[in-house]
């Protein structure tokens, strides 16, 4: 088990786009994206806090964003019921896809970024063939009974977490849908690097580790406050620590095995919900948090600590 080192705030970026709804890394973690309530998506260099590009074109708050595998496209979801496929370099929307009947909550790319998967408040998961000009979804999954909060995918499965307390695995290879019912509304879903387990942030202020294969509940992580917020959780790249935001302006890091709190990251002293976070896809030393209007880059690098001291 890797030794745990405390995280320290490296950079604080005032996104200047209203409340930040989500922060995400790109595929290799060299850039990050933030979604604002001012209908814009911004591309940042998290290391320097440099704003690289702003993507405007949504008609309502942007709720989620994902970068393609080659980092040349971005797909973003918005409460305006549409998802937009952006060209990163030009900053222009390549495609705008509207089929959701409600605001879109989450979006992701598949591995080769040929399919975008979105889930929305209309309880529907939609798969979009984003490379072609097809404006209809390739597939629509209407199994969920409540708002879809997160969609994930790997090479042969699509995971959708919903507020109805179920995680649904759509196995494309086998052709079956597995529904793991937790019973608590799931506000966020993350997956371990080895794709064996899922980390589900639940509404009852518990983060749960679920076995993909059996659907068994492996562990629970408690301590943070979710309240009624869409609190996100994540698992660090080393698959040893679990992180989740909290409504009281701090974030928690747990040990995956023991389930004890390793660090309580005090992000702000004056409140504000730490609702969104992003874990670096490869380096477990880096973390992104979103609180109110700001984005925080956290790292365990000692240099920074020294600099700060």
């Amino acid at each position: 088990m890797p030794a745990f080192a405390n995280y320290h705030c490296k950079t604080t970026i005032d996104c200047q786009q209203g409340a930040v709804r989500a922060v995400r890394y790109n595929v290799d973690g060299s850039y990050c994206l933030s979604c604002g309530s001012d209908k814009k998506v911004k591309l940042w260099n998290p290391a320097t806090g440099l704003l690289l590009k702003t993507y405007g074109g949504h008609a309502d708050e942007v709720t989620d964003v994902a970068g393609s595998c080659d980092s040349s496209y971005i797909v973003s979801s918005s409460l305006d019921k549409s998802i937009i496929y952006w060209d990163v370099s030009t900053g222009t929307p390549v495609r705008r896809l509207r089929c959701h009947a409600g605001g879109v909550r989450c979006v992701c790319f598949n591995e080769d970024s040929s399919i975008a998967i979105s889930g929305g408040r209309d309880n529907v998961v939609m798969c979009w063939d984003i490379r072609t000009r097809r404006l209809d979804p390739v597939q629509v999954m209407k199994d969920a009974r409540d708002c879809i909060t997160t969609v994930l995918t790997n090479e042969n499965k699509i995971y959708a977490a919903s507020l109805d307390g179920c995680i649904r695995h759509y196995d494309i290879r086998v052709g079956e849908m597995i529904c793991d019912k937790i019973g608590e509304p799931i506000t966020y879903l993350a997956r371990t690097q080895d794709e064996q387990c899922l980390v589900a942030g639940c509404q009852d202020s518990v983060v749960r580790l679920i076995d993909c294969e059996t659907g068994g509940l492996l562990s629970e992580y408690k301590g943070h406050q979710a309240d009624d917020y869409h609190i996100e959780c994540g698992i660090l790249a080393n698959d040893a620590h679990i992180v989740a935001g909290s409504s009281a302006g701090d974030a928690y890091i747990w040990d995956l095995l023991e389930g004890k709190v390793l660090q309580r990251i005090r992000i702000s002293d004056n409140g504000g919900v730490v609702h969104s976070l992003a874990t670096h896809p490869s380096r477990s030393e880096e973390l992104l948090f979103a609180r109110r209007r700001d984005m925080y880059v956290f790292t365990t690098d000692l240099q920074i600590e020294e600099e700060q001291l």
Binding site: N110, D136, V138, V140, E176, G215, G216, N238
Partner: protein, 989 residues
């Protein structure tokens, strides 16, 4: 003369004019009559003035004709926004000239030119005549007036003008002629009287005079009768004085009997009618006197007429009578309006709301307002009660908030006064309140409470002046202020104490329903305190308290009253307690709830699985083969490819949903290809008789042929694989792996097939051998079966009825004798849908799938008689041989007929599903020949577990075997499991 003569003359001279002769004037033709203006230009009468000679040839228009106005607008040239048309647009240049109708030259402004002013005001020149002659010593307009003219009128003048007054008129309501005359006379007389007698002697004299005038004027009455409506502005006169208003009419309202003269006259001539009759006579004279001068101006003036100026004179139509009838009311109306001197911008109030008078109510002297809803007992006079209340109130006021509890010394001490300063000791008033009264009277208390609070607020104000006075006397102001503060504090403390006492006293008392009778109330209170339940107790309790004077009936009544009252007038914390909660308690509960740790909810994970058909494009994009080759049934309600809801979706689902149609999704063609290899007899197995083998071959062909003629509409699996796939539809996904496994392992087990060929030697008959060899070599069998394979229409179904009886022995014999391990054992069940089976059954089935090579069904070939002619013609001798073999086999079968096989029976297809397992097991046993069935089952299990160990972990986990599930259960004990897992992960990284 010489000069003249020397001159040359050119041309012809005009004839010399005779002196007397005047050249004859040619009368001008109409068309030649052209009007010219002063410049010699042709004059055109405009649209307003249009005269007889206007326009072209005395017509309206011009040579070009009359062209209407045009409007043109294009994109390039936008038309200017429509201008407002002005009168000038329709005027000629001459009209705008100095003498035109709208001269634009520089002129004296109207207010500076007298004539123009007059004209403007009246609008008519003739009004000049109406101007009163100014009487003065010098005739004519005063010279000074010509020289000095005020530019603007005075304010009073302007107001008057706005009210309709004109210079030269008198001020006042319009008068009829008679009135005017009378007024005139009166004015003169008054003036005269005033001059001669002064104001004192006026009334009496005036009356006489007026009477005289009235008499004189009476002559005119008859004449003026009709003149009532025609009114005139009063003449101007010097007002002398104003008589005070005597009547009750509204301001400026002049009633009919306003005129004192008329009232006088009516009194003077009792027989004389009312005023209006008098006035009526006046009207008669009017036509004679008034002459309406209507001149021909309305018809316009010719261009050649001199009176051109008057062309524009406005001739008001109101000056004309159009009928006799409507004259009167109209004029009256005007009069009415004029009588009200309403200034411009104001309008008369017609609502009359101002007239409503507030009436002063005369109340009886001894009236006392009382709340009649208030209950009181019958016998108690209210007054006493009230006095008590009042007393209490006053007493409370008197006692105050404790200030009066202090004696002067204490007060002085508080204020820091010297004792010697003032000695005016007020009579001390100890708080001699009746505590019972005070406590028990709710209303009192409430009143007192509110008063107390106000007092408390006032204390500071009251004390401060005191402090000021004291400050003067004292030397150190700061010390004084401190003292004052202290004093205030003590007083306020006391006040607080008092009010607190009041506040606490109020709720303790509750309702006092029997306030009127103190003793009763007291009893009631004790009754309440006792909190008795039963009736007997109450009677006993009350009997002790009630005075002896009370009659039995009264006692009973009182008891009832008390019980009733206790019910109704429950104290607040009885009646309302369950309905209302104080804010504090709510908050406290809330906090308590928050503090309470959230109850641990047990999260129970549930996993459910369902079929889900991924879209083909999705599979393509994910680079995954479609599950089941895309042959999965689409979910019935899926709106794949057309997310827009169409009405036809509903039609489709409601009437003919796709689920209703069971199309054979798996075509047997693909599956039958491996058949030839399959048909090879398995190793170590005696070859079935050739006739049994033959049908095997023909079967696929037959099936193909059978397909179009399929009786059953639903899909019937033909091959074992089909069957398995079909079966797998109902099965959960995990179990489909069995199917796949069976498929893949089939191919493995097919390998020993070539090895099987040596087994041919063990075949009993040469025919069989031949057939087997032929089979092995893939040659067409020489037996009739090959022929029958051509027969497409052959019924391949298991024999029924007679046939069943016929072939049963052979069929049943064969598995024993020729235990060729059937490649696809459950082929006889091909035409059936296999229902869901238990795991053991399925395992067995798997085993069969693995082992089966020859369909059992095919073994009983001897449907040959049915095959018909072609078979017979082709091989008659084999037929003969076959018969012999059949007989032999039958014989053999009867010899060895195993007991357990007896259970197996061919029944109708549909019922066969239950027999399936039986037949399977039988086939198993037959294939193994040695092991008993339970042992066999064990073996299969073992082999299976071995196999599964080779398989990927995922498939292993997804299996639903009991064993596995047990394992899972173990694994679900997460803490044990997660650790190794994590370790595994670690090792990965």
């Amino acid at each position: 003369m010489d000069d003249e003569e020397s001159l040359h003359r050119f041309g012809t001279p005009l004839p010399t004019l005779e002196k007397d002769v005047v050249p004859a004037k040619k009368p001008l033709a109409i068309e030649d009559q052209i009007v010219k203006d002063e410049n010699g230009k042709r004059r055109f009468h405009g649209a307003f003035t249009g005269g007889f000679s206007a326009g072209f040839w005395n017509t309206v228009g011009s040579l070009e004709g009359w062209t209407p106005q045009t409007f043109k607008s294009s994109r390039a040239e936008k038309a200017t926004p429509r201008m407002q048309q002005r009168p000038e647009d329709f005027m000629d240049k001459e009209d705008l000239g100095e003498f035109g109708i709208a001269p634009q030259g520089i002129r004296t402004r109207e207010e500076f030119s007298k004539e123009s002013e007059e004209e403007q005001r009246t609008g008519q020149r003739k009004r000049k005549l109406m101007q009163p002659e100014q009487v003065g010593p010098i005739p004519g307009v005063p010279v000074l007036e010509h020289l000095l003219r005020p530019v603007r009128d005075k304010v009073a003048m302007r107001i008057l003008k706005s009210m309709g007054w004109k210079p030269g008129q008198g001020v006042g309501p319009r008068q009829t002629k008679k009135e005017k005359r009378q007024a005139n006379a009166r004015n003169k007389r008054e003036q005269y009287l005033l001059e001669h007698y002064g104001a004192e002697g006026l009334p009496s004299l005036e009356q006489q005079q007026i009477a005289a005038v009235e008499k004189g004027g009476g002559d005119d009455d008859d004449d003026d009768e009709e003149d009532e409506d025609i009114t005139f502005a009063p003449d101007d006169y010097e007002p002398i004085f104003y008589t005070p208003k005597e009547n009750r009419f509204g301001m400026s309202y002049s009633g009919l009997s306003r005129d004192p003269i008329l009232s006088k006259s009516s009194s003077a001539h009792p027989a004389a009618p009312m005023q209006h009759i008098n006035l009526f006579g006046q009207l008669e004279t009017q036509p004679k006197q008034k002459q309406l001068s209507i001149r021909g101006q309305a018809f316009g003036v010719g261009a050649f007429e001199e009176e051109d100026d008057d062309i524009y004179a406005r001739d008001d139509m109101t000056r004309y009578d159009f009928s006799l009838a409507d004259k009167k009311p109209k004029q009256k109306k005007i009069q009415h309006v004029q009588q009200r001197h309403v200034i411009d911008g104001f309008s008369e109030d017609k609502s009359g709301a101002a007239l409503q008078k507030p009436y002063a109510i005369d109340l009886p002297r001894d009236f006392k307002p009382r709340n009649w809803l208030q209950r009181r007992t019958r016998f108690e006079p209210m007054d006493r009660e009230r006095t008590k209340k009042l007393e209490a109130r006053i007493e409370y006021k008197r006692t105050g908030l404790g200030r009066h509890d202090l004696n002067p010394d204490q007060r002085a001490q508080l204020l820091g006064e010297q004792k010697s300063q003032k000695k005016d000791q007020q009579p001390e008033q100890p708080p001699s309140r009746n505590p019972f009264k005070d406590r028990n009277k709710l209303m009192d208390l409430i009143n007192a409470k509110s008063e107390g609070f106000t007092k408390g607020g006032l204390i500071v104000d009251e004390v401060l002046p005191q402090a000021e006075t004291v400050a003067e006397t004292q030397t150190t102001a700061t010390a004084m202020a401190k003292q004052v503060k202290e004093a205030n504090a003590t007083i306020q403390e006391k006040a607080v104490f008092k009010t607190k006492d009041l506040a606490s006293a109020a709720p303790s008392g509750g309702f006092k329903p029997f306030l009127a009778d103190e003793a009763k109330q007291l009893r009631y209170d004790t009754f309440l305190e006792a909190q008795l339940k039963t009736d007997a107790e109450i009677t006993e309790f009350l009997a002790n308290m009630q005075p002896v004077t009370l009659s039995l009936w009264d006692r009973e009544m009182e008891k009832k009253e008390f019980i009733q009252a206790a019910k109704i007038y429950r104290p607040l914390n009885g009646l309302m307690y369950d309905r209302f909660v104080s804010e504090a308690t709510v908050q406290a509960e809330h906090i308590k709830e928050q503090q309470k740790p959230p109850e641990e909810r047990k999260v129970v994970m549930e996993r459910t699985k369902a079929m889900w058909k991924p879209a083909s494009l999705l599979c393509k994009r994910y680079n995954i083969a479609e599950p089941f080759g895309g042959s999965m049934l689409e979910p019935p309600k899926e709106l794949k490819g057309r997310p827009k809801i169409s009405i036809f979706d509903y039609l489709e689902t409601s009437i003919n949903s796709k689920a209703d149609f069971q199309t054979p999704t798996i075509r047997p063609k693909h599956m039958e290809k491996p058949k030839p290899a399959v048909l090879v007899p398995p190793p170590l197995a005696p070859l079935p008789p050739p006739d049994a083998v033959a049908p095997e071959k023909e079967k696929p062909a037959q099936k193909k042929g059978e397909e179009p003629a399929a009786v059953k509409p639903s899909f019937v699996p033909r091959t074992p694989l089909e069957q398995a796939v079909d079966e797998s539809r109902e099965k959960p996904i995990s179990e489909k792996k069995d199917l796949f496994r069976s498929i893949f392992e089939d191919s493995d087990e097919e390998e020993p097939v070539p090895v099987a060929t040596p087994a041919i030697t063990s075949l009993s008959t040469p025919q069989e051998k031949l057939a087997a060899i032929n089979e092995a070599l893939g040659l067409p069998s020489t037996s009739g079966a090959s022929a029958s394979s051509l027969n497409v229409l052959r019924n391949n179904s298991p024999p029924r009825g007679i046939f069943a009886a016929l072939f049963k022995p052979i069929e049943e014999l064969k598995p024993k004798e020729a235990p060729a391990p059937p490649k696809f054992a459950p082929i006889e069940g091909n035409k059936l849908k296999i229902a869901y089976k238990s795991r053991e059954e399925r395992l067995r089935n798997d085993k069969e799938l693995a082992m089966a090579q020859v369909p059992v069904e095919d073994i009983y070939g001897p449907k040959l008689p049915e095959k018909g002619a072609p078979a017979k013609t082709q091989a008659p001798e084999t037929d003969h041989v076959e018969v012999g073999i059949e007989a032999k086999l039958q014989h053999l079968w009867q010899k060895h007929a195993p007991k357990k096989r007896s259970a197996e029976k061919w029944v109708e297809k549909k019922a066969l599903s239950t027999d399936d397992s039986d037949s399977d097991s039988s086939s198993d046993t037959s294939s193994s020949c040695s092991a008993s069935s339970p042992a066999k089952a064990k073996k299969t299990k073992v082999s299976k577990s071995k196999k599964s160990s080779h398989r990927s972990a995922s498939s292993k986990k997804s299996k639903k075997s009991e064993k596995k599930s047990k394992k899972k259960a173990k694994s679900k004990k997460s803490s044990d499991r997660s650790k190794p897992k994590a370790k595994k992960k670690k090792s990965k990284h």
